[in-house]
Amino acid sequence: MTVKIRFFARFRELLGTDIMTEVAPGTMFTPLITSIARNNPAGYAAVFDEKGAFHEFVILMKNGKRVELSDAAKTPVIDGDEIAVFPPVAGG
């Protein structure tokens, strides 16, 4: 199964974007993003807190639909999914 992960804004600077990755059936949202983010310590720290949970301000979407942070660990990804991970952009 192949899924596409898209990071935005600061996450994109640190982790890249449009990452196509092979996943095993039954892979959940959180471990998938965790494994990608681990490629860059600063990127990981931007997305996750020290306990390995998403920072509370992170926005997750799957195929254009919001995934609540509280559901991410139990939300599976399937072949062809497009996942978006982004922070609110705050400057003005």
Binding site: A9, R10, F57, I59, M61, P88, V89, A90, G91, G92
Partner: protein, 251 residues
């Protein structure tokens, strides 16, 4: 009614939307929250378009580090109040409109009063706590909130019509931590101009607004895209509003 000078000033856009459209702009009152990176292009373009009354609020003093992006303020303005600097430039850009420049911090206690009877709020803030206050005021008054945010080469914008589209808290329920953000002036230039364009369309009542969509700009890739956004039925800010409610109609 327009003076001869006004008719000349607006001639090229009256070709687009007629004197009736220009009259809509003239009768409108828009509240711009912030006279910084976003507030500069927003207020400049609303002023030259002929939005009749612009209230612009900021509490800061012009700093040298502002000048790479806050194009309302010039080198000579360093140390002046941003509101004084903004008022001066906007009056010079268009002496036929009214500028209310208010030097105050937007807080829960004064936000609704500051917005007053404005037809819309433009978010040109640099922090989410104040944005949430503006979001609440927009919901209470049933007027649109034109959101924008920037960082580095990245920006986002959306147009919020309370009761119809997701509100800011539906989209971004929790604020990111405060930071001194990096930015190059073209980014607020692009996002602020999009916000001003939204205001103009809203006031004219024409075109498709940037509603239910989060516009995302990547200046490094010169790539724009949008994500669909939806109302959150359990949103703490707007879930009490029914979808049958309409935002206050354009004039």
């Amino acid at each position: 009614m327009f003076s001869e000078r006004e008719l000349e000033r607006y001639k090229r856009q009256v070709m687009l939307f007629g004197e009736e459209g220009q009259e809509r702009l003239k009768k409108a009152h828009i509240f711009v929250a912030g006279a910084g990176g976003l507030g500069s292009p927003i207020s400049i373009y609303l002023a030259v378009a002929g939005v009749g009354t612009i209230t612009i609020v900021d509490m800061d003093v012009v700093d040298q580090t502002n000048l790479n992006r806050q194009i309302l303020h010039f080198d000579r303005d360093v140390g002046r109040k941003k509101t004084a600097s903004a008022e001066e430039k906007l009056r010079e850009l268009n002496p036929d409109i009214t500028i209310n420049a208010i030097d105050v911090k937007i807080e829960e206690s004064n936000a609704a009063k500051l917005v007053g009877n404005a037809d819309g709020i433009v978010d040109a803030m640099d922090n989410y706590p104040t944005r949430y206050l503006l979001n609440d005021v927009a919901i209470t008054k049933e007027i649109p909130l034109f959101h924008g945010g920037i960082r580095g080469f990245y920006g986002q914008a959306t147009t919020i019509i309370p009761g119809i589209t997701p509100c800011l808290k539906c989209i971004f329920p929790r604020a990111p931590p405060k930071e001194v953000f990096p930015v190059v002036g073209v980014t607020p230039g692009i996002i602020g101009t999009i916000q001003a364009n939204e205001v103009i369309k809203y006031l004219l009542g024409s075109g498709e607004l940037l509603t239910n969509r989060l516009f995302i700009w990547d200046g490094m890739e010169t790539h724009a895209e949008e994500l669909c956004v939806e109302r959150n039925p359990s949103c703490k800010a707007c879930s009490g509003m029914t979808t049958t409610k309409q935002a206050r109609k354009k004039k």
